[in-house]
Subunit: 353 residues, 2 copies
């Protein structure tokens, strides 16, 4: 018996993380920035000519590409923009990973990579991180259909330098290599400059973390004109206008306000270092984060219990019940006040034990 159900996509729903609506909470579970977006981005919103919203957005969001090209010192033809970096990465997976060989990425990394592979029928192989949660560069010598490495990696918080990336690119001249730089602004080497040397390198970024614009959905990629051209062709076969008019203008304003950007980043980094030290003084093991979050554990306590305890105190952190990282908690860096409340509740947890 025929049914329309036969032709439906069989897929396991991916359930996005819950967002609490409670008041007076400390929300340090989604790697969001504790500081508001640039006042110049806010001004771009407030002064926006709303009559123009009846028009479709600027074609291919070219004016935003121009601002990014200028900021990163590349050509406009080397820049792609999308509806958050998830959109950019999903399009990149569809655009560059059309071969038979499995693509390669670490076993502990951004949880969307296998989801996109399943959605687009891309074969993949994961390579385990070392005991120290570092990527073993030699794993990526094996022939593959493409490579994806977040730098810094999440949820480990660990970044790699230029030597590592160059080695990775030398090992993979015949694959597209994507470096996912969602957290790069918080203090690790950026591979953007290498896109001039390597035409198989795509670097992706987002306005959701360092630029406090998660609510506006702006992601981008930088790479050779050839890679960007394929990405653009696939995107234009999907949806011509993925970035809306307000996001375009606010994105431009944010990019042009480098002073506020650096100030915000530096505040987050200073708080991160302080919290890392305080946790270590309480006996926690904390990885050397180069992101806006930390991965921490303690030999004496069960981290799932800590996670649950903090929840009762309205402090929301992240716990992954996954092999190898089930002994850790991931904590986003909030404001100093938020982190003081977090530290205070951590102390009350350890003292209650």
């Amino acid at each position: 018996m025929n049914s329309f159900r036969d032709n439906l996509r069989k897929i396991t729903p991916y359930v996005p993380g819950e967002q609490s609506k409670e008041k007076d909470i400390v929300k340090i579970n989604a790697n969001e920035n504790p500081y508001p977006p640039s006042p110049k981005a806010v001004e771009a919103l407030k002064s926006f000519n709303t009559d123009t919203l009846r028009f479709y957005p600027n074609a291919n969001a070219n004016i935003l590409k121009e601002a990014l090209a200028e900021y990163y010192g590349v050509g406009v033809k080397n820049v792609f923009v999308g509806n958050g970096s998830d959109d950019v990465l999903a399009l990149a997976f569809q655009s560059f990973f059309c071969g038979e060989l499995p693509i390669a990425y670490p076993d502990i990394t951004y949880s969307f990579y296998p989801v996109w592979c399943d959605l687009f029928n891309i074969p993949y192989k994961t390579y385990p991180l070392g005991e120290d949660f570092r990527i073993n560069i030699e794993d990526y010598k094996e022939p593959n259909g493409g490579v994806v490495i977040p730098n810094p990696n999440a949820p480990t918080s660990l970044g790699e330098g230029e030597d590592f990336i160059r080695k990775l690119l030398e090992y993979n001249r015949d694959s597209v290599v994507i470096i996912d730089e969602a957290y790069v602004d918080f203090g690790v080497y950026s591979s953007v400059k290498l896109t001039e040397e390597y035409d198989n390198l795509l670097v992706t970024g987002t306005f959701s973390k360092s630029r406090s614009l998660a609510g506006m959905r702006i992601g981008f990629a930088i790479g050779s004109a050839e890679l960007i051209g394929v990405l653009e062709a696939v995107k234009n076969s999907y949806n011509s206008y993925t970035v809306d008019s307000l996001s375009i203008d606010m994105g431009i304003a944010s990019i042009k306000d480098d002073e506020y950007f650096k100030e915000t980043i530096n505040k987050v980094i200073a708080t991160r270092e302080r919290v890392t030290n305080e946790l270590r003084s309480l006996g926690f093991e904390v990885l050397d984060s180069q992101t806006n979050f930390i991965l921490a554990t303690h030999e004496g306590y069960n981290m799932k219990e800590l996670f649950d305890y903090l929840k009762t105190k309205k402090v929301f952190i992240r716990y992954f019940s996954l092999p190898r990282i089930e002994k850790y908690v991931r904590v986003t860096i909030g404001t100093d006040d938020e982190m003081d409340r977090f530290l205070c509740e951590v102390k009350s947890f350890t003292e209650g034990k």
Copy 2:
């Protein structure tokens, strides 16, 4: 010799329509609304708490779904929202057309349907419209892997009533039937109510035309909880947050301002009827539009020449150099002033001949 180029997606770039940056133009080429969005949507923008933009948008844009569910008298579980109706339709193609049989749609219709079929490797078969540009319902009796019908159709501007849609659904109990209602608000029967009777029916809509919010990228779909569930699962495997925080709030405000909505629609319809009559009095053949644009031709003149002539006068309409409709021009309904300038230039064109 291996190369990363072997694994790149081979795709013909789809080039979106050009957007002119000139001043003092009459832009009646993209079916945009000539009136600004609801003042309540503008107020939602101006009063938006920008500090919250550092957070990801409301999960699954549920608050916008709730507003749409109330407006259309359906359950929240029957509503899907996306980044413009192109995003919604592209996801629907991926979600519902996974069979072997070709999907069915008219030969003259929205130009993105074959693009999505190519992108997602969906077999398709087109059925020619009649000489009167009407859809022949009997064509859709043939076994198929799914059906897509825009109602009203574009660029023909012609709509169909309840009898037609019911017949279509009766012929296709074993296929998902998508009714693309991008232009429905300008005066044709909406199939939304039928989603309660037919669990294989998906109706899609957009805020880009009747709600003057093309710049904010808001699309939606209404259907059985089963279809919406699959759509949601595919979307959440692609990008969890496709509609940004401002679009959500502005969309809700627009939906709640029914008075302004109806007023705008009625103005567009009144102008459409007037322009249709004036063109007919000039000897043009104009189809009975149920949209915010008209399809027109004239036995005595070459429409490509009219299109080119108007361009020199800074009046931008649309011409398709495609079989069967190459004898027509498509003209979006602008304000009365804009249409007066259009009509004046049309007269100067015909008089110059």
